[in-house]
Symmetry: C2
Subunit: 377 residues, 2 copies
């Protein structure tokens, strides 16, 4: 780790909430805990707090290192740190594992106090608006009355957008990266295939796999392979893998073997993911993606939804992102402009695909840093 | 069925071959049979024969009806028949189930004469060039010395292309629709996910599932869902499904239920496919797709490969086809032009995606018909 640009060693902490949280679907979670990390220092005015919302497979560990032996820093370490786009010399950055997650916050793997058993698939469906409500409580708990900015990519961008609509007075800036007002049929369909792989795995056991001391690892690996592949771009994959073989030639290949580098890479990604991520959480998160629609409550009128916001917006799309295409970001930008709301927009030229928001494209990080510079702490 | 434009009731027939077929991978198939259908009449000069090559999940039944109670005609009935693009009043159309298939030709479901048992996954890897060699024998068997045209879409287009390179004197015209000189990394990756779903299904049993009286239906259904989804276009899906729900509202939805129409549609497609298609054949066919490279034997030089052909070409791409993108078709067209070979090309504007070549877009069928009109029988 580079001590000049890294937030260094960080330690997550637990915040517990005992007041019932009423969910969008009518159910209630009586109590829950959130695992949180912060980077930087809250100023005396408590005005420099920035909330980071994570995407499907993300968590609270957005920057820095948990130990000096970690192989990798937090998932957005490229953007968060001293002198980086989200500059921890200026901002107090708050990052959490969402409710329903599998990295320390209350979720399907937690014990349901009412039954004394693991929730499993009985954990209530949590939607984007529920996350935002739970994050609002976290904000109050931390003694913050308004975020300088709420920032997120992909599913995280949807949360940022929901913040701007649900709590317009609680954020001054809103950065929505590689996101959309809702998912397209194609995007839902990819999520459905991922879920179907999990739900048809014989080790799924209706989501009570932990009771059987198994995990639906085949389904989870397939789900990740679908996700990972579709978050990359065709050009990016062509550059990275092309038609390279693992070894030997196609002449003597066996049809049941892994032959191409890209096959081997995908299988490895799937296999790794299945050991670290919870299947119930995956199902829950993809459902939250599918169900999100920022025009809910506005009769499907995106301009009306955006007119209800008060934040200054940054919208970024990534040219080769085909799951959350630039056209979807521009729908949002047009609605904000039509509503007379302040928005900066750029489409980043990259072959990084949807994962572009996680990567370090120089134009992306420079534009993002420039926009963050005008955020007054 | 409309008797003016349909080839009517058709009956497939078996052609048996007892001379060993030497495969590209060095293995040999001692004997095999192909299931064949023909439409129209072979003329006295035996000069009006057209070969149809099928794609991944296709078969010999390209046009007409097997019985008056069939729900659907053959898979390319839109294009084959009296007065249609491939006009059976002018042409003698030959269509077969490829070697390794599961619809009547010798394949993994057949008995291996050497063992008296089903081949299963021990069936040799058949590649595009092997299909073309087996089709060449069929041509000779039918007393045809030269095809008026060889025509195929997708994997079928790859066979047509291979015909033009392997047997340049045996075809006068070559129509390559929605195909590519080889697959991209992204395209291989989608096939790998489909295969991985099958190979990790507990009912796969190393491809010997028939011995266990099961089929890997979960894997096969997932494979089909991936295929079907990626053969459609995002715009086509948005028009067809949008965010329509099956019933009710998202408010009360359960995260394990099918909620959106598009989910229900995909599951149905997967489920249907898993009852009619063989898993070993699916693995074999996708491998043939992955392994195909028309520049094999030409040091990767596509222009050199095309310079070896003698047919007149038609290349068609479909604007919203992202698995076999128009750019890949244009590579082929440019190589043909650079090699001084005659080629007609069009990119059909459609939201039909890769499936566009199976559908009835008016511009597509009109252009195809016009090109076929200049094919002298």
């Amino acid at each position: 780790m580079n001590e000049d640009t890294s937030v260094g060693l960080v330690e997550p902490f637990i915040e517990s909430f005992d007041e019932p949280l009423h969910l969008h679907n009518g159910k209630t979670i009586d109590s829950y805990q959130l695992l949180v990390e912060t980077y930087g220092t809250l100023n005396a005015e408590r005005s420099n707090a920035v909330l980071i919302c994570h995407a499907l497979s993300g968590n609270h560990h957005a920057a820095g290192w948990h130990s000096s032996s970690d192989r990798k820093p937090g998932w957005w370490d490229r953007l968060i740190g001293p002198g980086k786009a989200i500059d921890t010399r200026r901002f107090y950055v708050v990052s959490l594992n969402n409710l329903g997650g599998c990295d320390g916050s209350t979720g399907p793997g937690s014990i349901n106090p009412a039954t004394g058993e693991r929730w499993g698939s009985a954990f209530p469906s949590v939607q984007v608006i529920d996350w935002v409500n739970s994050q609002h409580r976290l904000m109050e708990r931390l003694g913050i009355s308004q975020w300088a900015a709420v920032i997120g990519g992909s599913l995280g961008g949807m949360q940022a957008l929901q913040w701007a609509v649900s709590y317009p007075d609680c954020l001054r800036h809103c950065a929505v990266l590689a996101a959309a007002p809702n998912l397209t049929a194609q995007n839902i369909a990819f999520n459905e295939i991922a879920r179907h792989a999990i739900l048809t795995d014989p080790d799924w056991h209706n989501g009570r796999y932990a009771d059987h001391q198994v995990i639906p690892s085949r389904g989870l690996a397939l789900a990740r392979m679908v996700g990972h592949l579709t978050y990359m771009s065709a050009d990016g994959m062509a550059d990275k893998f092309g038609r390279d073989l693992r070894e030997g030639s196609l002449q003597n290949a066996d049809e049941t073997e892994v032959v191409f580098q890209v096959e081997s890479y995908l299988r490895y990604q799937g296999s790794q993911f299945s050991t670290r991520f919870d299947a119930n959480t995956y199902v829950l998160m993809t459902r939250a993606l599918d169900w999100f629609d920022i025009t809910d409550g506005f009769n499907g009128d995106l301009t009306a939804a955006m007119a209800s916001t008060r934040a200054r917006f940054l919208v970024l799309s990534f040219s080769s992102d085909w799951r959350f295409s630039p056209a979807r970001s521009r729908e949002l930008v047009n609605a904000l402009l039509n509503a007379g709301r302040p928005v900066s927009y750029a489409n980043i030229e990259t072959d990084g695909g949807h994962d572009g928001f996680l990567l370090g494209d120089p134009m992306y990080t420079a534009l993002f840093a420039a926009w963050m510079e005008q955020v007054v702490p």
